[in-house]
Symmetry: C2
Subunit: 457 residues, 2 copies
């Protein structure tokens, strides 16, 4: 289905402003930069302070053909790394905007499970996942960590859709064999695990070296997985040390209470998931709101990643304020998720903005002890932080020679009569960037690249 050739591109370049995260608090704005992408879709050259008149000389000096096409970005235009959504329920794409204000179990049973059950129909899955993946690409999501539905076939379709459309993705068959309605529940622990292994084998077949798509182990959460499923998934994780793992973690008061009742032998969720072999440096833990001192220590020691989902955390039945400042202080890996469709928005730009809101709440409520997040920190979480959490920071996340070119071309000027990014002549680069982050949307995203390929239609 996939042939090697489809992953080669004609080398090309960009000249102008590139903005990326060097580290968690460090935003780097490269002006007059020259970046060249090679045939493998990798960043082969990145030079700063090159005058437009020196582009050809610089290409030649560095061994590139002087006929390499180089797009020169104008004022108000810049490149940023592709956005990374580390927590995304693909089958909830079309339920976004409903279910506001419900507590988690009510929301699952009333809104979500009936909706996800529709993915038993492969035709429905194919159409909806095509819209979903297109929608996220248009919004600049170059890498997504997707929960599928529980269905093997639909989840294979999701993986194939990402591959066809050129989006980088972690894709998981969702495991859930209890505390769900009969019409939407794995038939048994054995079947849940068997469908998972079959799904992994399929993805390894369609993308053998995980150039774009990687299978991810996806126990929905401990409430919906019995010990047999959890320990079976732990075994699969042990046998496949390249596989990432994702689940929901310390998300809501109600969820934590029920988990405690189901697994009274564990003091907390960290111990629970660690016991089953599911907590390690490959774990993407969504939400992480009520994480105490002991669990913080485990997350740090085990090098787990946090997927912060501020949109869903603040519009469900409970206002959740994940302690992002404390995670950053301790060097715990941090990233952002849309949590679409628990979150009403499918935009990582919205997630950045709502992360500011939640961090402002924590600052005020902590009397200033936990300062709110900066633009640089939120942008880091949406890019390099996301890559770290997904275990992909050797490949993507910022503009470093040797990494693959996952990038967005942003235009801030002349967009939509000033409703989004109302730019003025006097604005400097930091103003333009802040306006994009705080008031922009996908209409500012003119091109989307994954591995050097332009994929926004």
């Amino acid at each position: 289905m996939v042939v090697e050739n489809s992953f080669t591109v004609h080398p090309f370049g960009y000249h102008g402003t590139f903005i990326h995260a060097a580290s968690v608090g460090e935003l780097e704005i490269i002006e007059q930069g020259l970046l060249v992408v090679d045939a493998a879709g990798r960043i082969a050259l990145l030079e700063k302070d090159i005058l437009p008149s020196n582009i050809k000389d610089t290409l030649a000096t560095n061994g590139f053909s002087t006929s390499t096409p180089v797009q020169v970005l104008a004022r108000g235009q810049f490149l940023i790394p592709g956005l990374i959504d580390t927590h995304n329920h693909a089958p909830q794409w079309t339920q976004r905007g409903t279910g506001r204000g419900r507590l988690i179990m009510d929301w699952l049973n009333t809104v979500t499970f009936p909706h996800e059950a529709r993915f038993a129909d492969p035709e429905y899955a194919r159409n909806t996942y095509a819209s979903c993946v297109d929608g996220f690409i248009r919004q600049g999501v170059t890498t997504a960590s997707y929960y599928g539905s529980l269905h093997g076939e639909a989840t294979k379709i999701l993986a194939e859709t990402c591959l066809e459309k050129g989006q980088r993705a972690l894709v998981g068959k969702c495991n859930m064999n209890r505390n769900a309605p009969d019409f939407y529940k794995d038939a048994s622990a054995a079947e849940s695990l068997q469908v998972t292994e079959d799904f992994i084998a399929h993805v390894r077949k369609i993308d053998p070296t995980s150039r774009l798509v990687t299978p991810i182990l996806t126990p929905r959460f401990a409430i919906s997985c019995d010990a047999e499923v959890l320990s079976g998934l732990g075994d699969i994780a042990a046998k496949n040390p390249d596989l990432p793992i994702q689940t929901h973690f310390d998300e809501a008061t109600q969820e934590m209470q029920i988990t405690k009742e189901l697994f009274p032998e564990f003091e907390n969720e960290a111990d629970l998931y660690e016991h089953f072999g599911l907590l390690n440096n490959r774990s993407i833990l969504a939400h992480c709101i009520y994480v105490g001192e002991y669990e913080m220590g485990r997350l740090k020691a085990l090098d787990c990643g946090v997927a912060h989902c501020p949109v869903s955390n603040t519009t469900g039945g409970e206002f959740g304020m994940a302690p992002m400042r404390e995670y950053i202080r301790r060097g715990i890996k941090v990233s952002l998720g849309t949590d679409s469709g628990g979150g009403y928005s499918s935009s990582i730009i919205d997630a950045m903005r709502q992360a500011f809101v939640v961090s402002t709440a924590r600052e005020t409520l902590s009397g200033g002890k936990d300062p709110s997040l900066s633009i640089a920190e939120c942008f880091f979480m949406a890019t390099l932080g996301g890559a770290q959490v997904c275990g992909l920071d050797d490949k993507i996340g910022n503009f470093v020679v040797g990494k693959e070119f996952d990038a967005l071309e942003i235009h801030t000027v002349g967009q939509n009569s000033g409703i989004i990014t109302p730019v003025e002549d006097v604005d400097q680069l930091p103003d333009l960037f802040e306006k994009f982050i705080m008031s922009g949307d996908e209409r500012n995203i003119v091109k989307v690249y994954v591995r050097g390929r332009s994929i926004k239609s």
Copy 2:
């Protein structure tokens, strides 16, 4: 400049679904409705449960020409009343998206005052206000309560722009004769008041009966107005009992401390503004975050209106949670403001969503004592509540025979590949409406009417 004829329209009708607020918690969904707008732009007929085949009969029975053009709305399309933005700084239109995380006085001095000072240039004012008013109209704001800059001429241009473009507006010259930089401060109390009176006279000349534009008294806040300005404005208010009044009220800890230092003779801001004759049933009080029991009582007794601005309240230097549930409980008038550009968004739809967020925070932090706002309550604040706060609920706010037709035609289906309002065949009307409120934007707003005139270009 304005002639009577420009306010007449050719009578027309709509058939289909109309959604509006009957009262604060009561959302009315009218299906198979027939609404007719007369030549004066008023709602002349509103009938429910009319089959499309009975449109002509119903027109005839009610005395309308059977050749009246009637637009039949399809599935996924509906009318809602125009959105009302009760707190909006027009000269901050292009600074949106900057200044995040700053405390109020720093934000004013660093970001806002230098920006507003540019409106000394009428040419700049003309261009920027054209973009601003167009931008709000495109987002469905049929009525805005605008703070202008301190400049008389620029503020006249703002009023003229609203009139030309057909937007209903309260427009105020901003009074501020102290605690502001020399380059952006009224020259004296006398000059501040004189420019105000001259501005009021100008608006009365261009729109004598306030068909669209009404002048509004606009002391920025007590920090920037000395007692002479405040009492002078109180005198103008007393002499002009039709004029509304707007100011900022109990907005931020820092602001309240400085106000107390400047006016030690008053225990609180309610007493302060009441003393100067500025607190009554025409007062639009922005923010109202830290309002205690005594002030609550005064707001209720004096019938003041609250302009809740949840976007700016949660992204500035302090997380402010206005007690909207308590205002609603007490029957205090409530509405929504974008607070553009203290708020990064110029959308009242975003303001509704952020109002949910803030109310969810209050629910959680109050242990459930203050339940979060419902869709119906937020929609009320954005429409009928806004009309009440602006003193215009006899004219606009919902679909009632005799009121003027300020309305939006909303299309939820087929918008932008499902990024906004991801509608499915199975969705019922309440789902479509919730998806619009929670995930829609101005791309769902196909037509905008004020007084029966279609004004979205």
